[in-house]
């Protein structure tokens, strides 16, 4: 079975992925809902920003975060005065992961919003529901299953994040060392292939599980 060290790696991975998903959830929902609207000023820009992490090299994303949120970074120095530190912490790993999974997250939630019959918003409007009311009473509940599927998909993606995390949060065992980072670390040691293979298999199984869960939820969402 799994060793204590492996369990620790798994726990760090789950903590980082879960936090990344939860933190980015409200932003992802807001961006996805906005992008599912037919037209509004700045749509193209928002679309580009939401997709930026896919295009940029992950190391660059980590580097930019470091520049901004590192101890000597513009925002990081300010946060440090309140005792808040992101760089080289598990929180930082979660933040870097949140940025990286954002495009996948937004895309899957956007599909859920786009699949909603727009006529239902009109029906709600003539029943005296204002825009915010319509969002919470019609759009969100109808997209609910799709959002859940998006969360599972984002979580599975988060478990695999590497470049941005290692750059911004480093590879500290017991603190920021997630599964892919641990695989990388053992590969650096001579004779680490067997351990790397065990971790890789674990990683693979988790990814499969995540995909299957997302697919099941997606099917449920369509039936709903």
């Amino acid at each position: 079975m799994l060793s204590g060290e492996e369990l620790q790696i798994l726990a760090t991975s789950f903590w980082v992925a879960a936090n990344a998903v939860l933190w980015s959830l409200p932003f992802a929902i807001a961006a996805a809902f906005a992008l599912s609207r037919p037209r509004f000023p700045g749509k193209l820009l928002l679309d580009a920003i939401a997709h930026l992490p896919i295009i940029l090299p992950p190391v660059l994303v980590g580097f930019v975060l470091l520049m901004l949120l590192g101890r000597r970074g513009a925002v990081g120095a300010l946060l440090a005065q309140f005792g808040i530190q992101f760089a080289f912490t598990a929180k930082g790993a979660a933040l870097a992961t949140a940025v990286m999974i954002f495009p996948v997250f937004v895309r899957s939630i956007r599909l859920a919003f786009e699949a909603t019959d727009r006529g239902l918003f009109e029906a709600a409007a003539v029943l005296r529901a204002g825009p915010l009311d319509r969002f919470f009473s019609v759009a969100l509940p109808l997209a609910g299953p799709g959002i859940l599927a998006g969360m599972v998909m984002a979580f599975a993606t988060a478990l695999g994040e590497f470049g941005a995390v290692i750059t911004f949060a480093a590879n500290i065992p017991g603190k920021t060392q997630t599964l892919p980072l641990a695989i990388y670390a053992v590969l650096q040691q001579p004779g680490g292939e067997a351990e790397a293979a065990r971790l890789a298999l674990l990683s693979f199984l988790l990814a499969l599980l995540g995909l299957a869960a997302a697919a099941l939820l997606q099917r449920w969402a369509v039936r709903e």
Partner: protein, 320 residues
């Protein structure tokens, strides 16, 4: 005095809508026109769901032109009902009740009225077309609109259900004194429902007014399919609106017929004869109003029909 006044100009590609409307506060007004004449677009503009290039809309003197749909107090029942699929029937109606400005009628009472009490805890997906339409009506009523628009709410229903639904609409109008504008392209539905008529053709109002009168407008007659030719009359036994009597369902006798159901015979005077490619259209003045009858030229000659001649109009029973 009219309750709803609207002056609308809108351009959508090739199509342009230029309509000036005055809808009375009492009775049911029918918005009639062929498909593509702009009926649904007009409703969407009145409800605030579409913006016209230029629009002045007032309801009971209140200017709605710049208000959002949820601020207008105008209800709209869609052709496809648009019930919320994530809510039960009861929850759909409660959705409207919670947002109604003043005391909404009790849901149980409304449910009984629309004969949907047994459906309240069902999911909307499992309802039939007729049930969905009735739930949509109940939901719209409970939101307490000042004016209700209906976009062919019976389009999905067949003959008997359709007639039953029209009766429900008429009862609803009477019970709650709710002014309505109902869109239809079916002249029989229009005549069964409407106390007033607005006819729309290619985005322009071509006839408007009290139904029996506006339906005789040549511009309105020109909108009808050839088989629709006829006139709306208010028969003594009809309680609401009028009846559309198709010209080819009206026979003419020059001597008083005997042993025929009395309700179907109307003493008349011939007013005019119009020779048309598919027969002669005879205009008869009766107590109920003007009735048109289509006869062959041979029949007209045989009966010796001419203006001022006394005659009797016989209406086929199923036309009533």
């Amino acid at each position: 005095m009219s309750l709803l006044q609207a002056d609308i100009e809108m351009r959508q590609g090739e199509f342009s809508l230029e309509a000036r409307l005055e809808i009375p506060g009492d009775g049911i007004t029918v918005l009639f026109g062929p498909s593509g004449s702009g009926k649904s677009t007009l409703l969407a503009v009145l409800a605030g769901l579409s913006r016209a290039d230029r629009q002045t809309i007032a309801l009971g003197g209140r200017d709605l032109s710049h208000l959002l749909p949820h601020q207008r107090g105008i209800g709209l029942v869609f052709q496809d009902a648009r019930l919320f699929p994530h809510l039960s029937v009861r929850r759909n109606i409660e959705y409207a009740a919670r947002r109604a400005p003043r005391g909404a009628p009790a849901i149980e009472k409304v449910a009984q009225f629309f004969d949907i009490a047994g459906l309240l805890d069902r999911r909307v997906r499992n309802l039939s077309g007729g049930e969905k339409s009735r739930v949509a009506l109940a939901r719209a009523l409970v939101s307490r609109p000042d004016f209700l628009l209906l976009d062919e709410p019976f389009a999905a229903l067949d003959g008997t259900r359709r007639r039953a639904f029209i009766q429900v609409l008429i009862h609803m109008h009477r019970a709650w004194r709710l002014p309505m504008l109902v869109v239809t392209h079916n002249i029989d539905d229009a005549a069964a429902l409407g106390s007033h008529l607005v006819a729309l053709k290619e985005g322009r109002v071509v006839a408007a007014g009290e139904f029996a009168q506006a339906s005789r407008d040549p511009q309105f007659q020109a909108l009808l399919d050839s088989h629709d030719t006829g006139a709306a009359v208010r028969l003594a036994h009809s309680q609401h609106g009028g009846h559309w009597l198709r010209a080819d369902q009206v026979l003419i006798a020059t001597e008083e017929p005997k042993a025929v159901s009395a309700r179907n015979i109307l003493p008349a005077t011939v007013q005019r004869l119009a020779h048309e490619p598919d027969g002669v259209l005879v205009e008869l003045a009766t107590e109920a109003g003007v009735i048109l009858s289509r006869l062959t030229p041979e029949a007209v000659a045989e009966l010796g029909l001419a203006p001022q001649k006394k005659a009797w109009a016989l209406v086929k029973a199923h036309a009533l």
